[in-house]
Symmetry: C2
Subunit: 231 residues, 2 copies
DNA sequence: GCGCCCAGAATATGATCAAATTATTTCTTG
DNA sequence: CAAGAAATAATTTGATCATATTCTGGGCGC
């Protein structure tokens, strides 16, 4: 009956007080970005309520949100699935990121503190270790977090939202492509960029990020132009 | 048990085959873009269920969707409101549209058919009539639909989504600014752009749209740098 | 001023109806 | 008689609602 024995507990573990639909959303989002959901895969509401052990309403809200962000696709007849991108779609994302990411890197260079620079350097080192060990999942997650942190530092919430939304769109495809290629020749112009940021050379940092984006995304696009060898 | 709530069939519109959450979403979206919801205004779920005469679940889903698109803001404590943009936010939107809109106009020029060109010309004429008559609501809606049609013709769904989402963010502010200024010196470089498209001069069309965007958005930004005189 | 309590709003559940896909059956035809 | 197609039955899934529960914020007493 009464639950007042539980106080908000503002210190530390406040994250457990998040509403269920928020938790479901984050869980699903991570699964789309790094993990288990492949492009084209169907997603059912009732399937998720079972798989995640949640009620129907929170799952529905999380799905609506992901559809609005382009992470899921509403296939006409009440059917929802992970979008299957075309080569043209990838090209659109490339052209958008080619503009957005350098712009954000430029702003970040003008604003970044030394502590934040150390933080990014540390993240990049962890990223390198994941690549060496061939840990694909860790690479995908760390690489994403590196770029996302950069967006935050740029202090442009709306532009950061746009860039973030693009990751959600090409995440599943990126995973498929990287899964086929292994973690060997993954792009990493991060060190160039960090050096440019240290020197407060915003133009050079923007150029480095642009190359990083192009290298990574072009690999994705190339693999989409090949004949689709799935069965 | 009680099943008297048989298919309300609200309004008798032919499209009553769409789910309720979709209808609520469109209704709310239009109200945010053109109409009745002012920046900073609070939005409550129960208030909407009453005002729109709908159930709670569809309203919740529509709100989640609009939050994900940036049209509404989740204010921490279970409070939802129409975002109040800062001058910096407006600057972000300007810089994004300054890139997105010309890019889409360029693509549209390469792809547009003569029928579609006539359609846009017709839309622009209607727009002019709304301006002459000082009909603000009609101006906002027709101007939006003109640009949106252009996005569709560009045949780049992901980029179009990005551009469309920006309208949802600055819509309420645009309405406030235009409401203060009347419909007299509104920007309309549409005729330049249509002429350029007729000549298949994509660069010139892109430049015209860029000027249209800058003129309109700068008016918004200027009015945000003034001391906020509301109350 | 501080803490407790209450009203109201948001979150979450489960039930129920409707629609759609799948599986099955039956009928027709070669 | 067999095979395929159309129709129908059954199961699965989505949409919506009514209701219970939890949380936030403000009012009231101390």
């Amino acid at each position: 009956m009464n639950k007042q024995a539980r106080k908000p507990d503002s210190g530390g573990g406040g994250e457990s007080r998040l509403p269920a639909h928020e938790l479901i959303y984050r869980q699903l989002r991570d699964q789309i970005l790094f993990g288990d959901l492949a492009p084209g895969q169907a997603v059912t509401i009732q399937g998720l309520t079972d798989r995640l052990g949640a009620g129907m309403t929170p799952v529905r809200e999380a799905i609506r949100r992901l559809i609005a962000e382009g992470a899921l696709e509403f296939q006409g007849n009440r059917r929802v699935s992970v979008p299957l991108l075309s080569a043209d779609n990838i090209s659109e994302i490339i052209v958008a990121r080619q503009w957005l990411d350098p712009h954000l890197a430029l702003r970040a260079t003008e604003r970044i503190s030394l502590e934040e620079l150390d933080e990014l350097t540390e993240m990049d080192a962890t990223l390198d270790r994941a690549i060496e060990q061939g840990d694909l999942r860790a690479y995908l997650e760390l690489n994403y977090r590196f770029h996302k942190r950069l967006y935050e530092i740029a202090d442009a919430p709306i532009l950061a939202d746009l860039a973030d939304g693009l990751w959600l769109r090409f995440g599943p495809s990126l995973r498929v492509v990287c899964g086929r290629m292994g973690t060997q020749n993954l792009p990493d112009k991060h060190k160039d960029m960090l050096a440019a940021m240290h020197a407060r050379d915003a133009e050079r940092a923007a150029r480095a990020i642009r190359e990083d984006v192009i290298q990574g995304m072009e690999q994705v696009r190339r693999s989409f132009e090949l004949p689709v060898a799935s069965f």
